[in-house]
Symmetry: D2
Subunit: 297 residues, 4 copies
Amino acid sequence: MTTVGFVGLGNMGGPMAANLAKAGFTVKVFDLVPALIAGVEGASGAGSARDAATGVDVFVSMLPAGRHVESLYIGADGVADVLGKETLVIDCSTIDPGTARKVAGALADRGITMLDAPVSGGTAGAQNGTLTFIVGGSQAGLDRGRPLFEAMGANIYHAGDSGSGQIAKVCNNMLLAICMAGTAEALALGVRNGLDPAKLSEIMQKSSGGNWCLNVYNPWPGVQDGVASSRGYSGGFLTDLMTKDLGLALETAVSSASSIPMGSLARNLFQTHALANGAGRLDFSSIQWLYAPDLKG
Amino acid sequence: MTTVGFVGLGNMGGPMAANLAKAGFTVKVFDLVPALIAGVEGASGAGSARDAATGVDVFVSMLPAGRHVESLYIGADGVADVLGKETLVIDCSTIDPGTARKVAGALADRGITMLDAPVSGGTAGAQNGTLTFIVGGSQAGLDRGRPLFEAMGANIYHAGDSGSGQIAKVCNNMLLAICMAGTAEALALGVRNGLDPAKLSEIMQKSSGGNWCLNVYNPWPGVQDGVASSRGYSGGFLTDLMTKDLGLALETAVSSASSIPMGSLARNLFQTHALANGAGRLDFSSIQWLYAPDLKG
Amino acid sequence: MTTVGFVGLGNMGGPMAANLAKAGFTVKVFDLVPALIAGVEGASGAGSARDAATGVDVFVSMLPAGRHVESLYIGADGVADVLGKETLVIDCSTIDPGTARKVAGALADRGITMLDAPVSGGTAGAQNGTLTFIVGGSQAGLDRGRPLFEAMGANIYHAGDSGSGQIAKVCNNMLLAICMAGTAEALALGVRNGLDPAKLSEIMQKSSGGNWCLNVYNPWPGVQDGVASSRGYSGGFLTDLMTKDLGLALETAVSSASSIPMGSLARNLFQTHALANGAGRLDFSSIQWLYAPDLKG
Amino acid sequence: MTTVGFVGLGNMGGPMAANLAKAGFTVKVFDLVPALIAGVEGASGAGSARDAATGVDVFVSMLPAGRHVESLYIGADGVADVLGKETLVIDCSTIDPGTARKVAGALADRGITMLDAPVSGGTAGAQNGTLTFIVGGSQAGLDRGRPLFEAMGANIYHAGDSGSGQIAKVCNNMLLAICMAGTAEALALGVRNGLDPAKLSEIMQKSSGGNWCLNVYNPWPGVQDGVASSRGYSGGFLTDLMTKDLGLALETAVSSASSIPMGSLARNLFQTHALANGAGRLDFSSIQWLYAPDLKG
C-alpha cells in the first residue's frame, strides 16, 4: 500500500489530497495554515513538512510560486534531508522552469527522483479529479506516479525531462492568452463594424480563425451558454492567475534569450485590464471589456 | 439559362469563371490582359468590362484592391451605367469594407443588388471549386447567387448586410495571423528551452492552446506532413497576401476607432518578416523563421 | 498686393486667415458653415469655394481629412478648374500623404504649383501666429509662400518634394506618441516601485531617456507647471487628434509596406485609452491614466 | 586616509578601481580571474573577496547579475560576515531591484549601510572617470560615498532609498530603448516614403519628436558624425546589454504588477534583432537594420 505525504492544501491542493485518500492511498498532509490540515477528508495530519516527508513512498507538493518550492525542498530545514532515496517526489505547483530544474537537480544529487507536474483544470478539476497533468522528468518516474495522477486527474502528458512540464505549461498558457486576446479583439472589431457576435463566431469557428477560446470559451457575453462570459465573468480562470502565468512566460523568455512579442503584449493587455478595469478576480475572458468597454456596463 | 459576366481573370478569377462555365452557366469574361481572356475554358470573351456587364443575369468581379473595384463599378466609364436593374452583382474581391459599402450603396441607388463575397481557399480552392465564400448583402441576393457560389465553392456563410462579408473575412484573417504568430512563438519558446516541437504541439493541441494553425497547419518543419512548413514554406498562403489582409484590418480599425493591438503587432511582425527574411513569396507560416532564425538555414 | 483665397475656417483655419488679413493680405474666405465666414476679422466673404479660388494669387485650404481635400480640388465642381496657373496653392490640412501627392499631381498636370504644409502648434499657435509649418513641394513654391507662412507661423521647415510635408509630420507625430506612451510607462513603473515622479523625471531628463515629452510636457500630474497634466489634462493636443494622426501613420505604413510595431502599439494604446477612459477630448498626455488608474480619481 | 576593497574587475570594474587608486584611495582588489587583479594600476591584490572586505572603510562591488551580488554578500562564505559595521558598502552592478533590496536589507540587519549605485557611461566612461551614478540608499550614505563617486564619475543622482538606484536605471534604460526603436522606426518610415534621413532628423529634433537618440545618437548611418551608426555600429552600448537591461525591466514589471507594453515590445524587438541579424555585439542603435534591412548590406 502506497503512503503519500502532501504539502500545500489550498483550493487546489486540498481536494487533490482528498482524492488521493479516496482512491485508497494513505495520505499524510501538512500546510502552514492548521485549519486546512483538518479539512482534508480521509487524510491524517502531519506536524510539519518534514514530518509529512518522512517515510513516505511518494511526496507531493502544491505551492504558489518558485520561492516556496525552493524553500520547501532545499531551504533551511528543507525536506530534502528527510526524503528517502526511494521516495518519488511530485511537485504540482506552477512555477518558473529555472527553479523546477534547480530543485530537481539538487534532489537528483541525493539520488531522489523528482517530477514537475503542473496542472490545468482549475478548482473544479481538482475537486472532480479531472485535472490535466503536464509532466517533466523521467519516463520511469512518470510510470511510478501514474496511479496518483490517475486518482487526481483525467489527462497525463509527458513533455520531456526535468522542467519540461513547467515549460510546456508556460508555452500552452501563453498561447492560450494570445488566442483569447486575439479572439476578443476580432469579435470587437466585427461588432463595432455592425456584425452579430454569434454569427461572426460561427463563421470564424468553421474557418481558419478557429481556436479553443472561440470554440468553447467564447468571451463575448451571450454567444455560448455555460461559459464565464455568460455569467458576468465570475469564476473560471482568474485574470490574476493568467497574468501570473504570463509573468512566468516573460521570465522564461528572458532567461533563454527568446523573443515573445505576442506573449509579452498579451501579458501587458491582461495586466492593463486588471489595473484599469479592476478585473483581477474575474475570469480572464473578461479581457473582452478592454476592447468593448460598453459591455462593462 | 443564367448568363454571367465575369471581370478579373487572374490566378483566382480565371479558374472561378471556368468552373461557372463547367457548371453550365453561359459566361462572358473580360480582363485587361487579353491572354487571360482566351485562357478561360468554356467562356466567351468580351471586348470590355462594360461589354461583359451588358445584358447578363449575374455580374461577378474578382480584383486585387478596393480602388480597382471602385473604378470598375463607379469610376469614369464604370459598369454601373450598363448593368440592368435585374442583374445580381457579386464582388468576390477581398477589399476594405468601406469601399465595399460605398460601391454597394451607389448600385443600390440605381436599384441594383450587390453582394460582397470574399473567398478563402487559395488558388487550389479556386481550381477545385472548393472555395469558402463569406457573403455580405441581403438574404434574397444570397439566395439568387447560391447556384453560382455552389459551382465555385464548398462553403457559403452569410455574415450580414452589405460589407459584412469583407468585415468577417478581415476579422477571421486577423485572428488567423494572431494565432499563427502566437503558435510559432510558443513553439520556439519551447524548443529553445529543450522541448521537442512535435511533443509540445501534441500537448497544446489537446489543451487550451489548440487552434487551427497548431492543429492542421503547424509552422514548425517536420511536425506535420503535407503542410507548407514541411516543404520549405513553398506555395500556400503567401506572407505578402497575409500582410495585405492585415493592412485591411488596420484600415478597418482606423475607420471604426477600434483598438486592435494584437492584430497590429501581428501585421508588423509579418511585415518585418517579409522585409528582413525576404519571405513575401513564402507561405505565411514561415513567420516561424522570425522566432527561430536557425531554421532559415 | 497679394490676394488670398482661404477655404476651411474652423478652430485652426479661422485664426490663420485672420492673421493673413492682419498682415496686410487681401483675403477672401469661404466655409460651408456661413457663420464661420462672418467671423474672420479683416477678410471678405466668398459665395463658394470656387468663388474664393477665382482670381487670387494664393489659395489656402485647411480641412479635416484627405477626402475633403480631394473633393475641394478635384471632385465634381472642384476648384482646380477655376484656379489660375499662376496661383500658388497651399494646403495646410493634415492628411494622408497619398492624397496629398494625388491632388498635387493633378494640379501639376494643369501647370499649378501646390504645397502641402501641415501645421503643428494647436489652436493657440493658430491664434498667436506661432504655428510650425512642415512644407512639401518645390523650393520655388516655398519661397513664394514664405510671406504667408511668416504671417501665420514662427517656424518653417522644408521636408522635400510634394507630399513630404505630410510624411514628415506623420513621422514626427508617431515618434511623439511613442515617446509620450514610453514616458508615461517609465514614470508609472518607477512610481509603482516607490520612486518620486519628479525625482525620476529629473534623473531621466539628464540621462539618455530625455525626450520632449519628459522634458517639457511631463504627463505625471504635479511634476511640471503649466502643462496639461497639471490642469487635469484639459486643453492641449486631444487624444482623439493624436489617434487620428496615428491612423495616418498606419495608413502610410500599409501603403509603403513599412514595419511600424512601436507606432502601431502606441496607436492602439491611445485608442484603448480613449475608449476605456473616455479620454478622447482630453490632452494626449492623459495616457498616463492607462498606466496608473489611481490618478483618474 | 580611506581604504577601499573592490571586487569585480572586468571592463568596467578594473578602470573604476584604478581611478580610485589614482585619486589617492588605498585600494585592495579581488576578482575570480587572477590576471585581472594584477591589471589594476596602483592597487594591491587581495587573496579572496572576504580578504578584500576585511578592515576597509568602503567596500565596492561591480558584478554581472543579481545572483553574483547575492552570492558575494550573503551566500555561503559571503562577505557579510567580515564587513565591519562602519564599512560603507557600494554595489555598482546593474541588477534587479528585488535582489538589491534583499541584500541591502540583510546588511542593514547587521547594521551595515549599503548603497545601490548602478552606472551608465560605458567602458569609456569607466576609463575616463566620467560615469553617471544613480544612487539608491540613505542621504548620509551617499554623502559618505561622494568622494569615491567623484573619483570615478562626473554625475551623481540620488533616486531615493534602497533599491531606487536600480529602479531609476531600469526606467531610464527602458525609456531609452523605446525612444531608440521609435526613432529608428520613424526614420525608416520617412525614408521609405522618399524623405532624406538628415532632413527628417533635423525637422523632428526641432519639433515634438525630439529625444536623446534622435538628437545625439542618431541610428541612421551618415546623419551624425562620431556616433555608432557612422562606424558600422561598432563599440557603443551593445544590443546584448540593452536586451539584458530590458530583461530587468520585464522582471521589475512582473514583480510589481506593472503594465509596460511599449517596453516589452522594445525588449522583443531588440531580442529579435539580436537573433535575426546576429547583432548582439553591435551597438544597440543597429536596431535600425530591423526596419531597413537594405542598410545591412
